[in-house]
């Protein structure tokens, strides 16, 4: 038995030699190939009198042509229309191949699409006419010969300007035109500009075309004018619309345009109307180009032959010969810019001196609609070739599969023999005749059974190899196609695919990844279910074949054989099935004793799932397709939700709640966009500062996503209780392990990353430390800050040293802000339920206090930098306080040290309270004697005394200055005495001034008061004397008693 391994029944070269999807590329003498490949079509006949035997496809066109023969009164125009690639030209070619008119009565002018240049087209027409057109062609050659391309382009553009300026007529109102039509007509006319007294149009498109940026854009390489001029000389594959202007021909977004328009206000206004109605403008430019092209090519001249004249001469000559002129055009769009000359002929009816025209032309739907009314209204028949005209695509393609198997030479040979023998069915079926000695192919039966066949009229059963029915369907339904047509199908399914198949089948690498991408490759099953436990290139190839040739079902053995595919592995369900005869006990198996799944939530009847399997887009994504936006969003959402629910930050004393700092941090770090489905996925992935989890197109991640989706939708692992079908060939335990393992891994990564990135404990420490520094700035001694409660207590009194006032504002800002307690609550507490903090991690929260007390300015600096991004409110507060401290510290320290020194000196070693009380006594007596001065200053005096009385003794304690310590630190640490010193100094000064003023007052009012000390002594002496006399008197009394 002949093996099919690597078998190919065609050659790549044969594909190139026999398959011409574009009839324009088929050599004119290739009728054998054309007819061998021809598949009868079904055509619509929407316009024209019914023809004999209507419904015979392309033969209807031939019959319509034949039936018109002999009518000397009118021309006959037959249009074959349809979409691009539908086979219109093919119909015209077939009509030509089957046209068996009497040469004595008809002259046939056939213009195939194979003609690629306008010059060649003209030559073909001129030579096809029964007149001498040599002079005409010489003039054409002279017009374009010896002239550079750029000059020709410029000539065309200037010709267009000339036409726009002088020749294009204003459209006149039509009877019965609608309002919209009237407006369109008026707009068109206004675009042409207004005529001056000489008749020259100004302020219209002609002027615009002379504006430098417009002129340059119109002549740009690759533009329409450039392509049109190219088409005069070069063999280009011309298609519909190539000779029509587009928006890109105008400088709509060119930088220099506005600058150029500034110089001409009228044109500037005009340009704004142009840009508002580009479709109209483009239509006018197309019209102008057509009119100008005749001049550029020399088609129209005042003297000498024109194309019109040649046609007339030909028709006159044919009339005299009693012949009709039959013209067959495979593609009228070829004429593009010169179709006017042709249309003139179509519209010129025969008469006494002119032979009638019988014209069959193919034209695509768009250009057909643009054919001038004078021609369109004269069309006798219109046949439409739709994309469904070759509805039986397998048969259509089967004919080509047969053709490539036969090869060009054999087809030609058979054709020649058939011509001689007058055979009708001359094309052989390669499957039936390519064996030794013309026998059937030796593997025909196995091939046909395994790969299938298609019935082709006239040929019989044609093998689909290397396709089978599934593969051919998937090739026809390929996703890459933009416009489905017989030509496109032929290009892909035969011209391209057979060459690829030939190469790769020979190398035993078929089907390659490219084929998978090109064919329709919708999948409905998990890849792993088809090729579980197989990896590598061969597994990939097997998978591709299982999808493309098997619709994800097992392949016929001969497919494996032909493509040398590895055997498909039995999937896991088989491995899990109870085994009783296996010599080796599998490690894992289903428990045979378990009749019902313990994963079920309770005994119940198994109901079929309500919803369809939602995993198909996932399986498709696995094959390389982008995931639909909606699907990507859903998977991100569910993964995010599942992982988030597993992030147990409260065991680390962190509590992200809605609208909290911790929540902001966590949501910035871990988000839905953290799940990265690749560059082709919807939305942006999380950026720097966020954690990312990459999902790859591999079996493991597909299984993970499958598991996540199932669990998210069901929250159980019971295959029999799903809303949608359990993923085939998947084991509940495996899916659960896969998901649980990954959720743990991701949640751990989020927690680790979050804790590392944000260091919540440090946030708590910083919050407490910054508040503690603020308390120190407010005069609280570090020694009084022993517990967390000390650091969190509110403070009402603030120091009043003038130099320190700038510091008080940021200090008060920090102390009045609940931020510290809020951050502590979020980052270092135990919470339960929805309640607030229950316990504070004081050991952690106080961790930075030593450093903050030792070097507060540096600590503030560090806090400002560290939290500049994450907690800007902390950073700003720390920075503001630091700045104020650093700027205020020198003056504060100077004031404080000076005050302390003065005070100490003034007190002369006494306690401030003692001095104050003495002064108080003097002041009180002086006040009673109305001698206190200043007279209205007693209240201030009392206040000052109070300050001195309450002044802590520590204020006046001896201190060592430490010049190496930052002044800011010194100033903060000095707050427990500095403000006191300044206040005490001020109070002492107030008291001293009052005492001195009072003394002066006493001196003025009491001469004896000149010497206060003397008076005091005298008073003291007198007092002592009084006391003694009283004591003696008392003693006498006692004695008496």
């Amino acid at each position: 038995m002949t093996s099919m391994k690597g078998y190919r029944c065609w050659e790549s070269e044969a594909v190139r030699q026999t398959v011409y999807s574009d009839i324009g590329a088929l050599p004119a003498d290739a009728d054998a190939l054309f007819l061998a490949a021809h598949t009868p079509m079904s055509l619509e006949h929407p316009h024209g009198r019914a023809v004999a035997g209507e419904g015979a496809g392309e033969r209807d066109v031939l019959n319509a042509l034949r039936e018109s023969v002999g009518d000397q009164e009118r021309n006959t125009l037959i249009a074959v229309t349809g979409g691009s690639g539908a086979g219109k030209s093919h119909v015209v070619r077939w009509v030509h191949a089957n046209l068996d008119l009497d040469e004595n009565r008809y002259h046939v002018l056939y213009v195939p699409r194979a003609i690629q240049t306008i010059r060649e087209l003209l030559r073909r027409i001129v030579e096809g006419l029964p007149v001498d057109g040599g002079q005409f062609m010489e003039r054409i050659d002279a017009a374009v010969g010896g002239v550079g391309k750029d000059e020709l382009k410029d000539r065309l553009l200037e010709g267009m300007r000339s036409v726009l300026t002088w020749n294009l007529e204003y459209q006149q109102p039509r009877e019965g035109e609608t309002e919209a039509e009237a407006k369109a007509r008026q707009d068109r006319n206004s675009f042409l500009g207004s005529r001056d007294e000489t008749g020259k149009r100004r302020g219209g498109l002609a002027d615009l075309l002379s504006l430098e940026p417009v002129n340059t854009a119109m002549l740009a390489a690759g533009g329409t004018i450039d392509r049109v001029i190219d088409s005069i000389f070069e063999s280009t594959s011309r298609r519909d619309g190539e000779a029509e202007f587009t928006r890109s021909d105008l400088p709509l977004k060119k930088a220099g345009m506005l600058r150029a328009l500034r110089k001409d206000e009228i044109l500037a206004d005009f340009w704004s109307t142009v840009t508002a109605d580009l479709d109209m403008v483009i239509a006018i430019l197309d019209e102008a180009a057509k009119a100008a092209m005749g001049k550029v090519l020399g088609l129209r001249t005042q003297d000498g032959d024109t194309l019109d004249a040649l046609f007339r001469q030909a028709r006159q000559a044919l009339k005299q010969q009693g012949k009709e002129l039959v013209m067959l055009f495979e593609d009228l769009a070829q004429f593009g810019l010169i179709d006017g000359e042709l249309y003139d002929q179509f519209a010129t009816q025969p008469g006494e001196g002119m032979a009638p025209l019988r014209v069959v032309f193919a034209v695509t739907d768009g250009p057909f609609e643009k054919i001038v009314d004078t021609v369109r209204t004269r069309i006798a028949h219109r046949f439409v070739v739709s994309d469904d005209s070759l509805a039986d695509r397998p048969a259509f393609l089967g004919r080509y599969l047969n053709l490539v198997r036969l090869g060009r030479d054999e087809v030609r040979e058979k054709w020649r023999a058939a011509q001689e023998d007058k055979q009708r069915d001359w094309v052989a079926n390669a499957c039936d005749s390519r064996g030794p000695g013309g026998d059937p192919c030796p593997i025909r039966q196995r091939c046909h059974e395994g790969f299938g066949t298609v019935e082709v009229p006239g040929l019989g059963e044609v093998g689909l190899y290397p396709y089978n029915e599934v593969a051919l369907r998937r090739a026809l339904q390929r996703p890459t196609i933009q416009h489905r047509s017989p030509r496109a199908d032929l290009d892909f399914c035969v011209s391209d695919a057979l060459v690829v198949a030939h190469t790769h089948i020979g190398r035993l690498t078929y089907p390659p990844a490219r084929t998978f991408e090109q064919f329709e490759h919708t999948v409905h099953r998990q890849r792993a279910a088809l090729v579980r436990d197989q990896t590598g290139d061969e597994a990939d190839r097997l998978y591709r074949a299982l999808v493309l040739w098997g619709d994800e079902q097992p392949l016929a053995p001969i497919v494996h054989e032909a493509f040398a595919l590895p055997a498909a592995t039995e999937h896991r369900n088989a491995a899990l099935a109870p085994t009783t005869e296996s010599a080796v006990e599998p490690r894992r198996r289903r428990d045979p004793a378990s009749q019902s799944s313990p994963t079920k939530r309770g005994a119940k009847n198994i109901e079929p799932p309500d919803e369809k399997n939602p995993l198909q887009p996932l399986f498709q994504w696995r094959t390389g397709e982008p995931m639909a936006d909606k699907e990507t969003r859903h998977y991100r959402e569910l993964l995010f939700t599942l992982v988030q629910s597993r992030i147990n930050l409260d065991e680390h004393l962190v509590h992200p709640r809605t609208s909290s700092v911790a929540m902001d941090m966590l949501s910035g770090y871990f988000k839905k966009a953290s799940f990265d489905f690749g560059a082709d996925a919807q939305g942006r992935t999380a950026g720097a500062g966020s954690i990312q989890f990459r999902l790859e197109r591999n079996d493991a991640d597909v299984e993970l996503l499958m598991a996540a989706r199932w669990y998210y939708d069901h929250f159980h692992w019971d295959p029999d209780s799903g809303k949608w079908p359990w993923p085939e060939s998947s084991d509940p335990l495996d899916l659960a392990l896969t998901l649980e393992q990954k959720l743990d891994e991701w949640a751990d990564a989020v927690v680790d990353g979050f804790l590392d990135w944000f260091d919540p404990a440090q946030i708590a420490k910083t919050a407490v430390a910054v508040r503690t520094i603020a308390l120190m700035c407010a005069g609280v001694s570090p020694k009084a800050l022993n517990t967390l409660e000390d650091s969190l207590e509110p403070l009402a009194d603030f120091p009043t040293a003038p130099a320190w006032r700038p510091v008080l504002d940021p200090t008060a800002g920090i102390l009045s802000n609940p931020l510290a307690t809020e951050l502590l609550a979020e980052f270092a507490t135990v919470r339960q339920g929805e309640g607030g903090a229950g316990l504070v991690d004081a050991a952690t929260a106080l961790g930075d206090l030593p450093a903050a007390v030792a070097a507060p300015v540096a600590y503030l600096d560090d806090a400002a930098k560290r939290y500049n991004t994450d907690i800007p409110i902390i950073a700003a507060a720390a920075k503001k306080l630091r700045t104020a401290v650093v700027s205020s510290a020198p003056a504060l320290l100077e004031d404080a040290w000076s005050a302390k020194d003065r005070l100490k000196e003034g007190l002369s070693g006494d306690k401030s309270s003692v001095v104050a009380k003495a002064a108080e006594a003097i002041g009180r007596r002086a006040k009673e004697a109305n001698l206190f001065r200043p007279a209205d200053g007693y209240q201030n005096f009392e206040n000052a005394l109070k300050t001195l009385i309450e002044l802590p003794t520590t204020v006046l304690r001896d201190r060592e200055r430490n010049p190496s310590r930052p002044q800011g630190d010194t100033a903060i640490l000095a707050q427990d005495w500095a403000s006191g010193a300044v206040e005490g100094d001020a109070a002492f000064a107030t008291v001293r001034r009052a005492i001195e003023a009072t003394r002066e007052e006493c001196r003025r009012n009491t001469p004896e008061f000149a010497e206060l000390d003397e008076i005091e002594k005298r008073i003291q002496v007198k007092a002592d004397a009084i006391r003694k006399s009283l004591e003696s008197a008392s003693g006498a009394v006692d004695s008496d008693a």
């Binding site: 006990e585 939530r601 929250f715 751990d748 409660e789 502590l824 135990v830 229950g838 991690d841 050991a843």
Partner: protein
Amino acid sequence: MDYLTTYARGAAPSLLVISRYLAAAGSSGQTSEQLQRALQPRPMIKEVAPRASLLGPALRIGEHLGLFEQDKAGGEQSWRLRTTAAGKSRTSNAREDDRAFYARVFGALNARALADVEANDLSDLALGIIWFCQRDPLVPLNTAWDGETETVVKSAGIRSNAIFNAAQWLAFRRWAVHLGVATLTERNSKNSYISADCTRAIEPILSSMPVRARADTWISHLLATLPVLGHPRLLRVLPVPPTEPDVISGSLAFALLKLERRGKVQLVPAADASNTMVLRVANTITRIGEIRVLEASTA
């Protein structure tokens, strides 16, 4: 000891905070009032009696677990750490530090369990965990008490002596997750589920497990260390004990398979039936003959 009723407000993170503070305080004990002032500063936490707050129950639980002790000698009672390791300061890896602490708490709970059961004084929490760890990990329970969950608990026969209302169920869930014997997954408040999964509880002790041993030996060693995961003596206290005592099922079986996926252990298939240990999860059984530790946590 009724963790889930009288001391329902006690929780593992509270033990962490207290331990950490007592460790920082050094050898000097802390009175309840001192602890309250330190750990429940008035500017943040409304002052209530320690017993009514999180502090009191946590101190009692910590005492029961042997983490803290009261110094009753010499006037005012004060608390101090019984083991310094319980409150050791943070290292560079905060998460590992915290997890290690919870592992020690779980270890302490296990250390008491066997003794308590002999004394017929098994804690409600230990009983709840023994029951929960035997559950099928593929059948999670709704975190809401009402309805199915209540029925499941009731049918397990532990409603009367472990978990009998929503508050206890809440306290139990909290402990189960913190001690590493349960995982939570939720879609929203109505779709929130708790699964039996003791992977986190086992992972920290892998370093103390035999690197390579017969499966039955290895598991015996494991259950001697963490008996609440399925020690036969403890399983017998369940009102509805497992029907197949020789089969490792539920959370422990699932955790071993998960640890194998994670590359922490290798479950080597049995060479012959005599040395086989059976792991059952749902309707799937896995026969193993040997367990090897491939990678142990350093925590």
